[in-house]
């Protein structure tokens, strides 16, 4: 794949992918590694339609995240919690951190659709295409995910 095109995709999607993968790794450094791995694999791809690139990158990065999660290295490591490490008594920041922790508490299958639809603003159809699931399945994952997130958040702040 051409460097210019790759660079363009990186500018456009790297941030989205890193954030998406964070929902699986729970730490930013592993998420960055997975994003890097996905782009390295994209370099080896040749003819790929532009509309297929984002779903492909997300799936590749998430597979890389799952590989890392299975590795012996990962099981011996306790990540530094970037959201609780820095002291703050600001109620807004504390609530934000609680929401982030709540997101990591809910089941994996809900996290990506919630992130893509609610934080990235993709429509349900676009989200369905990216996560490679049916329209109605995606819609119900988002609906249930929102409820679960609210419950997990309430548990986290009390």
């Amino acid at each position: 794949m051409q460097t210019e095109l790759l660079s363009e995709y990186y500018e456009r999607y790297a941030d989205t992918i890193t954030r998406a993968v964070w929902h699986y790794t729970g730490n930013i450094h592993s998420a960055q590694d997975c994003t890097q791995e996905a782009f390295l694999r994209l370099m080896q791809q040749e003819n790929m339609q532009s509309e297929r690139v984002l779903p492909w990158l997300i799936r590749t990065a998430i597979n890389a995240a799952k590989d890392i999660a299975k590795s012996a290295e990962h099981s011996k490591t306790v990540p530094l919690d970037e959201f609780s490490g820095e002291y703050s008594d600001d109620a807004n920041i504390l609530n934000e951190r609680a929401a982030m922790r709540a997101m990591l508490m809910i089941e994996e299958k809900y996290r990506l659709p919630l992130y893509l639809h609610c934080a990235q603003g993709y429509t349900i159809l676009e989200t369905a295409k990216i996560i490679d699931k049916g329209f109605s399945t995606t819609a119900s994952l988002i609906r249930r995910g929102k409820k679960l997130l609210q419950k997990a958040f309430e548990k986290e702040v009390t």
Binding site: M1, Q2, T3, E4, L6, S7, Y10, E11, A14, D15, I17, T18, R19, W22, I28, H29, S30, A31, Q32, D33, T35, Q36, E37, F39, L40, M43, Q44, Q45, E46, N47, Q49, I68, S71, A72, E73, F83, N95, E96, R97, A98, A99, M100, A102, M103, L114, Y115, C118, A119, L125, A128, K129, G134, F135, K146, L149, Q150, A152, F153, E154, V157
Partner: protein, 349 residues
Amino acid sequence: MVKVNAMELYKSGINRINAPQNPFKAQNMKKDETPQITVKHNTAVIKTNRFYYAAAVAGIILITIAAIGFIRSKDIEISQHANSKASHESSDNSLIGSFTSATTSQSPITTTQSAISSTSSLISTSSRPVKQHNYANIDEAVKAYRSCEDEIQLTLKEFKAVRSKESFNAQDLQKYQNKLNELTKAQSDITDNILKDKLYTSDIVILDARPVENTDKPTAKIVIMNVSEQLITMLGNGTLTDLQTGEQVGRFELVSQSVVPNAGARSTIYFDASNIPSDITQKITSERKKYSITFNGSKLQESSNGYVNVPIKISTVSWFESKVWAMSYLDEDGLYKRNDLEKIDVIGQ
């Protein structure tokens, strides 16, 4: 009690996760230079650990095989109750043989090498199988390409119609997506056939040209195939001329250009056709009236100082004509270059 929206809080938190800087940004990159990417330390650690892990697994497997060999030879020894010395020798040999192979086969290295070779074969197999068509001439090949493009446009229309409905099945959309993939592949097969059978008679073959619908501005899409080994890029404006009167009736502005790799450098060029009067557009689409389009290009040529970009004007002799469009090169003064003139092959005139 204040009602808190967990999603809003989550969104404000997730916005603080940022991607690293773009490692692919080609700064001062020369032609054909491999892009550099920063490999992070922890990736290297994981890969090193994987290597040791693979070595350990290979070692355990070999020891297990040796042990099984040893036990089986022992079984044979017990069951036969004879020639015990020979049997012992045999089992020892089997054991020694297994351990020798374990120590001399350098299994982790072999594993790594096979992994590398399989990776390279994965990369090299990207040259996909091409369907052989045996077109008699370029006319036939381009006609096939255009009919594929017609079908793509039709499929896209159907796809959009289904998508705009209030309720639809995602599987239906997938069906259209698959059809589009097949048609795109068929187009690549056609261009590969043009290249392989050397059907082209000029450096540039115009595969298709048509207006793009539902865009902010009137836009024309032109697909060309550059069969020369030189890089040709389109620059600036294009002009549209009435072939009967010789009058310039409109102007295009280059919007974007994209290249399909490994397809005979097939480029799709989008022109802003806002400056083409609507009555002309109407004549082009409905009457298929002939117009000439000329656009500026740049050709990479070898000079004494290396490669330089030479500005050229590229002209077609007909616009939205069903047959193949002939191309001609003009120099900056609008004069035909003698060498290029020899390459001109006016087809379908």
